[in-house]
Symmetry: C2
Subunit: 294 residues, 2 copies
Amino acid sequence: MINITLKQLRYFEALARHGHFGKAADACAISQPALSMQIKEMEEALGASLIERGPRQVRLTHFGEVAVERARDILRAAEELGDLARASRDRLVGRLRIGVIPTIAPYLLPRVIGALSEKHPELEIHVRETVTPKLIQELGEGKLDTAIVALPVSEGSLAETPLFDETFMLVRSASEANAPMPSADRLREMRLLLLEEGHCFRDQALSFCNLPSGPPREVLDASSLSTLVQMVSAGMGVTLIPEMAVPVETRSASVSVCRFEDPEPTRTVGMVWRKSSPLAGQLGEIAEIVRTCS
Amino acid sequence: MINITLKQLRYFEALARHGHFGKAADACAISQPALSMQIKEMEEALGASLIERGPRQVRLTHFGEVAVERARDILRAAEELGDLARASRDRLVGRLRIGVIPTIAPYLLPRVIGALSEKHPELEIHVRETVTPKLIQELGEGKLDTAIVALPVSEGSLAETPLFDETFMLVRSASEANAPMPSADRLREMRLLLLEEGHCFRDQALSFCNLPSGPPREVLDASSLSTLVQMVSAGMGVTLIPEMAVPVETRSASVSVCRFEDPEPTRTVGMVWRKSSPLAGQLGEIAEIVRTCS
DNA sequence: CGCTTTGATAGTTTTTACTTATGATAAACA
DNA sequence: TGTTTATCATAAGTAAAAACTATCAAAGCG
């Protein structure tokens, strides 16, 4: 293994450029003997002479000429590494892998991605949409940088910050539009359509109705809010959806949407990331961007 | 200017490869704390974190992943510089710029170049053919690595080694083939054809005849031995040529060649180079090759 | 809970790199 | 031809960097 140093390459490059030990040493802000010695050590390390020490002149050997080009390449590459580092700390650069739960993704992401890529044009955004436990796991494995989920997550290794609260709305068939608002308790007796097992939103809805979560009940479980609304529209029952989903999901369905009375059911949506993540600082900024567009 | 070291790059690369401080340190044959510290210093120098120090695991940051590739590039380039150095010292590599005087070049070079490129196939040979003073000047300016000229040169800064002695032969018209050999003194009264001013061989011939060198005499001056012989063949006079030139130059000319009586006129041909040349060692070897094929 | 693994920290020693002072040599000059 | 000047090498001492050993702290695991 060759044992030269970048410092030696720098000195050598300066020497090649100035053709003069003293001037090169000045340029490197060191004394002339220091430069002489480093050059000599470099020659020893390489086992070949770089310069021809003629009286009154410093001339590169043939190998020296080849070497100085190589040296410049290497120094340039090192500088570029520095540039890269600077770029990576000044702004978010490269890849941001963000996970989002399915009951938020379709409604929030379009705006978030727009805002993010406007602010950080060089940021390459990868989105993963799946249920909270999977997101948390992938976060832990380093496959994701951050995730947007319902809080709390309560993982010691993860940091979390709230983004916004969202209310759950009741969706029932259009014919019931003017019926009185059922209480949480009355909901239990209605045919409540829910998302399939695994979605946190299912548990949150059940919890609001004081129903135990767990094995599927006698109702049909859907895999998306969109499906749920279509099922309601077909008169199969009622359901809850987050407020944010209302504009998108009820646009083309003959359903009525109404707000619960106080206390309204809500959940807090937030962002989580590994406390140890080096992006920690910048993720706070990203959370802020998400907040402003939600 | 970025202030990292190749050592740090090596350590970092090992860390990235092993994903483990202890193992990486072993691989680098240093202690674990030493590696930890160098990595930390590298991160400080770059102003960006390279690894995410999670408990129980070492994971590269996004920047770290980019950086390790860069690091590998840089390390590879440094190794290549070492390879290059090794190649350049084990054998003659690259360019050998050799100067030869015109009265030797055509007769010696074919064999020398053949032998040289057989022994050092990667050697790129450049030949410069001109008169001694020009060769010496270009040698001093570093435009040539070595030159083959008539000794002595007596330049303090140049090393010289004899290659061989060569005898001068008399060339006269074929009709004089059986005439008695003229003495050096008699030559003065004959029509002696010579090379033009500047060729050392001209001076050597004049010196043999005890004639002053200097301004052209009433004779025609030729620019090559070949021309001289053709002039002799045309009956314009006599001339001297080096023994080595005889086979080539008299093959297709109706002239007679004869050897002088003792003391025969001779000159010593040798090789010269800058004492300070880093090729000095190898030039001795080259001189040896030239000797064996002359 | 203790035990083990793993990386960070502290204190010390060794090595490396730099500085100033001086020497040597050849070119430049008178 | 001696003297000066320019230029790089060498030497000796000092400052800085990098290494080691020992120890600590935190996290995973039985």
